[in-house]
Symmetry: C2
Subunit: 241 residues, 2 copies
């Protein structure tokens, strides 16, 4: 694990508060071994009791809950800089799984190291807490989107969120979203058939292009309006926490 691999995490944190050199140092010292997870591979499984948390260094992964009837609901999408299972530090037992969408590089942070942070770096501990609180805020927003928005608007909302988190802003830019239509359906709570129909509509409206894993936003303005997207829930505001 190289120093520069921590840049996405530092960026996530520095979008929300200042980070002292000592705190960066403390984070760097926490990072344990790294690993490669191939596309479609498991990162953690529901029921696991990990003794470390997993930081995404590159690639994309999803959190999902399975139901007894076999359906899968994706509850979160993770990019570089995200801890996928920071909550296992306190919850102990995973109540859901995480799997890689693309080839992912990850780094493991032993829970023992996190305990030390909560003891010696209260402010940094609050920033880790913050990361999990933003997860929860995103969950609430997804719930609201599920309840209030029709299929196309939900799809637009998801793309807006991913774009906003990756820092995209200009029309015509392309981002990689390695979701199949089945997986997109599992995220939006739609059948794959209807997901396909929705994507066709969005193409027809010249909102987006989506070829393979390359998604091009043709008009942020219209996409945001379609999704009623307001990024406040991402809490990307630098202030003392």
């Amino acid at each position: 694990v190289h120093e520069s691999d921590l840049r996405p995490l530092f960026r996530e944190l520095e979008l929300r508060d200042e980070l002292s050199a000592g705190e960066k140092q403390a984070i760097a010292e926490c990072i344990g071994e790294g690993a490669l997870v191939p596309a479609r591979g498991d990162i953690v499984r529901a029921g696991d009791r990990p003794d470390r948390s997993t930081l995404m260094l590159s690639g994309m992964s999803v959190r999902y809950n399975l139901t007894r009837s076999g359906s899968r609901q994706i509850t979160s999408i993770h990019i570089a800089g995200d801890f996928v299972d920071l909550h296992s530090f306190v919850l102990k037992q995973m109540d859901h799984g995480v799997s890689a969408l693309s080839d992912c590089r990850v780094a493991y942070v032993p829970h023992a190291a996190l305990t030390r942070i909560t003891q010696e770096h209260p402010h940094l501990a609050r920033l880790l807490w913050l990361l999990t609180l933003i997860d929860a805020s995103r969950h609430r927003q997804w719930l609201a989107a599920m309840g209030a928005l029709r299929a196309r608007a939900r799809a637009a909302h998801l793309i807006c969120e991913i774009g906003a988190r990756m820092g995209l802003a200009a029309d015509g830019e392309t981002l990689k979203i390695p979701l199949t239509q089945v997986e997109l359906g599992d995220t939006l709570a739609l059948s794959s058939v209807y997901t396909n129909k929705v994507l066709q509509e969005m193409r027809g409206m010249r909102l987006i292009e989506w070829v393979g894993d390359a998604v091009t936003i043709l008009s942020w303005d219209r996409l945001r309006r379609e999704a009623q997207f307001d990024p406040a829930y991402l809490h990307m505001r630098r202030e003392p926490r």
Copy 2:
């Protein structure tokens, strides 16, 4: 605010980990003034930047996200012992509102006192973190329920969750859920008309009775099966955190 008012919070925490006498003391010292919020009153509003968090002492309240189009999605239901906005301590700005369903007694905990806890009581700080992580876990479960379950099963799931959190287990027991059918619809993402139809069905199946705010579970067994309810996501397990 009387000592005994803290019992629901202590119960919540002691369901999940041991709490030392010193930690209980530290919590008690945090509690600031109390207040009464009448039914239908606001507890916090979206956009607020509170300098304290609100602990429910009695009554029931809901968290909700509003959308631009005017619809309301209830994302969480709170009972005695819940912090309704503990996350505002770290998030600073509320991204949603909380309002009282019934008359509620609440107590305020200044954020300054919480800062002291994160500095002086790392274990207690982790337990507060835990409470917010369980919120997130419930959000994920609701997302999964929204995606996978039909209306009646979602309603059953909600009742199971509230019953489980209140410690109910025996058939024929009655709990108070002061939700109107409109509010229940805002929770389950259903129209009030269809919510009514679903309740009638559940009455017809002899799963529940629901008169005013009095909900009687006639058969936990069938209700749980209907909802595919598995309480693991509530993390009610006592272990070192």
